[in-house]
Subunit: 289 residues, 2 copies
Amino acid sequence: MCVTSVDAMIEGVHFRLADGWASPAEVGHRAMAGALSDLAAMGAEAGEAYLVLGLPHDFSEQRALELVRAAAALASSCEATIAGGDVVAAPVLTVAMTAVGWAESSEELVGRDGACEGDLVGVTGRLGGPGAALAVMEARATHGAAAEQALRRARSPMPRLREGRALAAAGVHAMIDLSDGLATDAAHLGRASGVRLHVDLGALPLEQGVREISAELGLAAWELAASGGEDYELCFCAPVAEREHIEQAMDALGGEVSWIGEVRAGPPGVSLSDERGDLVRIEGFEHRW
Amino acid sequence: MCVTSVDAMIEGVHFRLADGWASPAEVGHRAMAGALSDLAAMGAEAGEAYLVLGLPHDFSEQRALELVRAAAALASSCEATIAGGDVVAAPVLTVAMTAVGWAESSEELVGRDGACEGDLVGVTGRLGGPGAALAVMEARATHGAAAEQALRRARSPMPRLREGRALAAAGVHAMIDLSDGLATDAAHLGRASGVRLHVDLGALPLEQGVREISAELGLAAWELAASGGEDYELCFCAPVAEREHIEQAMDALGGEVSWIGEVRAGPPGVSLSDERGDLVRIEGFEHRW
């Protein structure tokens, strides 16, 4: 069976081309990463991608090719291919990506609605890099050594396809990719499953440099990691009994897993608590348009 | 197996909202029709559609709902469903539609590359309505009784899904839907198949009112039908032996089929000849961006 995901990125909303904020290649890479990341969160294998490109009249063919080549290169590294698309005129650069993924059967796939009371909440990789990079690009933070890792990570996020399949095979109950920020996406999982995720913000795995940039901005260390968005890591709810199994599976892939909370009864959504155990309210990117 | 089609429509490029040119509902209908029409041309059954909506800040939720409802209504009438999507901010109304279609096996599907020397060229339905409607909307032609049928047809094109499946089952060799105009799309078929389609423009089936509006514009009767675009009828190449079989199949569906030419050897593409047999060159919408 196949699953399909669509994602759009619009110049001036999701990225800026002016002043070197993003190159066409970065836009192509990020659009493909976002679409494939949705497949990763379902535990699907990546198949074909279809690229709709809306080009402003002053966007050169050369730059369009850079964009498409970068998208194709990332697809190829994930064993996916760009199988088609549509090119139209548009007032600003517009990229809509459709990714089709595959699974042998629907039982192999993971939704957002299966989290159960008592599950552990886990997350792959490290968070906050793109949020920290945005602060650097907006010149709210300085471009020190700490920022370099964050910037590099933000410019070429990798969809966690292998991790997603391994987690699905390990029997996780619900999974989502972190595109809007952990606070927002964990709330999606909670609402879809009708349970409450309790997340310990102090346990969030921070990307290198995020702690330093947060300190410079006067933010708590976890803030960029919880609200920054575009991490494209996977957040999932898993039965306690699978904890070791999952750690071994992630280890075998050379990846990381962090346990950041647990699932309880209560109003569907998420509760976030800081290092002192105080409840925290975070406004994520949920309402950014 | 599943097949996927993507299509984008951008305000100011593919439609205008100002001055009543198009309502949000019409935009939703047309975007869905365009995506499903691609599936029809493959002989696939429509399955799920995914809608990416880029909304300008002053586009009300009410109008967005009108758009989505019209798209959903057309999908539903074609036994398809909108299964997901993405909503983002955009400078102008942007609609990218992904449609996923199904077939039992790849043998059931028809591509663009199978046309053979000696095949007949056929087309479903009637052409030129949308082209004539555009002339009326641009006030190049008057809004007489002749125009009404053309306008109605242009505002709610129907994807020829049943016809597409019947033609695929009847063994047509190659098929395409008429989104860019017969002249352009027939050339696509010819090039993809490495053959030359010879089309008799005098044999094109004209939508009601097209002859009158063409006369008013000082155009040959076939001109809007050959170059207007957005007809969403099917053009196909079929073995001569299947001619009667295809006519019966279209008849059984309450549809029309017209035989408009034949496939010969020669430089891949299309040759168009008028009623006197003179070769005609038509610039279609191929280069419109």
